[in-house]
Amino acid sequence: MSTGGFDNWLGTIAEIGPIYPLVGSEGLWVLLCIGFWIWWHMAQMRTENMEHSQIQQALEDEEQDQDEDQNGSLDN
């Protein structure tokens, strides 16, 4: 079995053509890569949204703690 389009280097080199494996399946690689590309942008947006929500939450918590501290010192 050979994944390449040639099985030795002894013939006419100029007639080899494509040197990558699985010649003929290029369309599939293109579709997979487009799928990966779209997935990456969606995943990136999801990750970014999540990170921003965490930051937002941390800021709100901090603000709440400060308010509570302030109220506590006023009560005393």
Partner: protein, 457 residues
Amino acid sequence: MDQDITALTLLFTELYYWLSMFLMMFIPAGFCLYASAIVRHKNCNNAFLTQLMILPVLALPCFVFGWWIYFGFVNGPGAGGFESAPFAVAWHPLAGGFIGIDEFGRSRINGVSWLGFLLMSFTVAAIVAGSVLERIRSGALWMLVVLVGSVLWVIGAAWGWSPRGWMVELMGFHDAYAAGVVHTVAGGFALGVLKNLGPRLAKVSSNKSLYNIPPRSIHMASFGQILIILGLLGFYLASNQPIVDVQSGEGTFFSATNIYGTPVVLSASTLNFFMSLLAGMLVGYILSAGDLRWILSCGVAGIVSTSAGNDYYHPLQAFLLSAMVVWLVFRMRYWLESRFQIDDVTSAVAFHGFAGWFGLVIAGVVLWGYPASPHEGYAIINPLGQFVGATILFWVIGFIPGHLSSSFLKFMGVLRLNPDIEVIGMDTLRNNISRLESENNSDNELQILDDIKEEKD
């Protein structure tokens, strides 16, 4: 003998492009360093990351459709359809490694040419990314850079930076080192985005005037710009064909050519590159009263301002034209900021967009009457053709799509950072998390140390 010369020419060309790619790799390094140094400390790592990820984000779209757009779109809108370019079609055997005879003669240099193309795409995208730092969301920016880096500038290049582009053929458009298709398009696009994005919160005072926001590290920003300039030299090399028989009819005359196939003298255009850079720096020194922040920016603007015609200018012409345009765009930078409240962190609109635009128009006057192509039937270089071409690049290919796409992202609510996050800075919280983790680690270490001591006792 003929075969020997052909083989030698082929190998030399291959090596030449590899060398130029090596130099061009300094462009991403320079932009990452520059961006991280020009922002405030709280956004330093995020600015670096934003620039760094542009290259991987652009790789697939540039390979799958950007490369084909460059060859396929040369006929322009509604004229002549798409040109055939199988070596640029992602699923064609010529797009990968190919040993043999192909009718286009590109199989030996296709990959390395594409790499140059990708780095040019990066340059366009990084110019835009630099101008919007410190308040744009990374996800939105990376979508915008796909649009400008793998579609828009490529259309401009197909039209005006290609031997068979319709703007070259009909209008005599000339843009030897891509001042227009790279820098003018990037500047126009950045302006479109900046208009929707608005200034940084810290930039606007209560009376609506804009504050100056000092960069984190001016000397590191300058070092980043030195790397960018080194990369631009590689860009100049990659814009030429190194060895071509340019003699029509009988006889042979080997020469380097520009992208249009007309003969150029490499040493002269390299000299012009440096003359433009140095003139820009001299003017920048005077205008900024010796402020290091602006000197190399003005040097880059100087290169941009003469790149359209640096293949044929006299070195002193390049010097004087650069000085004139840099003086002009330096003033326009302030005008943009004060008149329109455009907060352009790296001054990309003025130093790339406007400098490129002026450079194109000036090339039309200075090179008036030069043949735009070695082929018969092409228009000559002329001021009107350059003016129309420059305007198409800035407004039609740059500004309008930039404005529309960023309007859409703004409408979707994903363009700009939440004000709370903008104020605290993207790095601050990430750093706090790292600090907490590091403190936890230290606590853990101390605990282990206590345990060891107890065991010993």
